[in-house]
């Protein structure tokens, strides 16, 4: 069987709902998305025992859950780590329930752990029952109606001329924050060696050097920072291309990834 959360609320009390008819375990088709977490599955399984929740067999319940998880593993359990953690805990509980008590020196007895699980299931069940009752209560605007055409009078001990709900206040702040998160983009100023700087440096130095020179010889000695060095290299390289294009220098690279050499060029050449 498949369970789907249709998003619709139904009066689920005493519905033998989610896990499907008990007994057809062989045909158990599991859709984890249909359940709201492992406790939900456990409650559905416990209900399928068709006894008072206080009387459920925890051992049987544990086994059913482990079967459920085993079946679900074939599907998309990776989405539901909670189920695996619960399964691990239940497997532990099961082993404790099967072992004789006296051999175990731990804080909680298996009986206590089982009682605790049972309590949680009973409480969740009780909350679901009252939730259903609450929703079936007469609701204003659904079952009972206020005056449809109220006459414009407001009889209040007037406290303020303005009406703002707490929700609106929080909403305003959150919207403001959301907008601000989009608007406040700060770009850190980065240290870069500009093309102009590189051109100035190359033009100034290139005349002093007679022959082919490794372009990176022109990196200023003051530059030691690795990031800055990269920027300077990029700047110098771009500048060398620029000067070559302009005819005031020529460059040569003898092998791939090898050094780039540059020398001054006379226009007359």
């Amino acid at each position: 069987m498949t369970v789907r959360d249709t998003g619709q609320y139904s009066v689920f009390d005493d519905d033998p709902a989610p896990v499907g008819s008990p007994g057809d375990d062989e045909n158990l088709v599991v859709d984890i998305d249909g359940f709201e977490g492992p406790l939900d599955v456990l409650l559905a399984l416990a209900r399928s025992q068709k006894v008072d929740l206080k009387q459920i067999s925890i051992l049987e319940l544990v086994q059913q859950f482990l079967d459920f998880v085993a079946a679900a593993k074939l599907h998309r359990l990776e989405k539901a780590a909670d189920y695996l953690v619960m399964a691990a805990w239940l497997a532990y509980l099961k082993s404790r329930l099967l072992l004789p008590e006296e051999n175990i020196e731990e804080e909680y007895s298996a009986g206590e752990m089982a009682a605790r699980l049972s309590f949680h299931l009973q409480r969740l069940n009780a909350m679901r029952r009252v939730a259903a009752t609450l929703m079936s209560h007469n609701q204003l605007g659904r079952d009972v109606f206020a005056r449809g055409r109220p006459e414009p009078v407001i009889v209040t001990t007037v406290t303020s001329g303005y009406e703002v709900s707490f929700y609106q206040l929080l909403r305003a702040y959150a919207d403001h924050k959301t907008r601000k998160a989009v608007a406040d983009i700060r770009i850190h100023q980065r240290d870069i060696y500009s093309l102009d700087q590189a051109l100035d440096r190359l033009r100034g130095l290139i005349g002093d050097v007679p022959d082919w020179t490794d372009l990176f010889q022109f990196i200023p000695e003051s530059v030691i920072d690795a990031k800055m060095t990269r920027s300077v290299k990029a700047g110098l390289f771009t500048a060398s291309l620029e000067m070559t294009r302009g005819g005031s220098a020529e460059i040569i690279q003898k092998q791939m990834f090898g050094p780039v050499f540059i020398r001054k060029r006379d226009r007359k050449d």
Binding site: E36, F119, Q122, R123
Partner: protein, 201 residues
């Protein structure tokens, strides 16, 4: 202004309004020495078996259509939007356990509270932040609004259906404490057992 006129006045004010009015506010519109409680009781009696009833909700008074006529009126008015099951359950946990923290809600429901639930309930003006709990992290606590009471026709939180049974069964005790009490009364909250189960089982 005799009692008859006083009654008509209260009737007119309540009839004109589409939201509940407090006895105090109504009394302000009456002459000195009027017995507003008596007037309200009499009006309530007069309307008891009519198509419109006078009800007390959230400690205030309002006229609304008789519940037994719901089946006739429903088609007249657009159905209120359906809440998701998770939202309904969350609303129930908040209303019965209030004030509760997010963690409390998650502990009771056994699943983490997804986005869009609390803000939906707050947008409907059924739930609001109440304050902060005096525990580590001082988490915000949530509770229900007066509008919640009005919407569900309750005079106070004490009128929630099944409240007594839940209390008797120990389901409404402090969520975290009750969990520990179940195991060991002497254990203080700091010695929570480290069981590998999120959320707390």
């Amino acid at each position: 202004m005799d009692v008859r006129e006083q009654s008509r006045t209260v009737e007119a004010l309540l009839f004109a309004s589409d939201r509940p009015l407090s006895a105090l506010a109504l009394d302000d519109c009456l002459p000195e020495g009027s017995d507003i409680d008596r007037l309200l009781a009499d009006l309530q009696q007069h309307y008891l078996d009519r198509g419109v009833n006078l009800v007390e909700v959230a400690g205030k008074w309002m006229f609304q259509t008789a519940p037994d006529l719901a089946f006739l009126l429903r088609k007249e008015v657009e159905q209120t939007r359906r809440l998701s099951r998770a939202a309904v359950e969350t609303l129930a946990v908040i209303s019965y356990h209030q004030p509760v923290t997010r963690a409390d809600i998650e502990a009771v429901r056994g699943v983490s509270l997804s986005r869009g639930i609390l803000d939906t309930l707050m947008a409907a003006d059924w739930v609001r932040p109440m304050g902060r709990r005096r525990t580590a992290g001082r988490p915000v606590t949530y509770g229900t609004t007066d509008h919640f009471l009005v919407h569900f026709g309750l005079n106070s939180i004490k009128d929630l259906p099944g409240l007594g049974e839940l209390k008797a069964a120990g389901f409404l005790e402090n969520v975290n404490i009750s969990r520990l009490n179940l195991l060991d009364d002497d254990k203080s909250g700091t010695e929570q057992p480290e069981l590998p189960i999120p959320p707390d089982i």
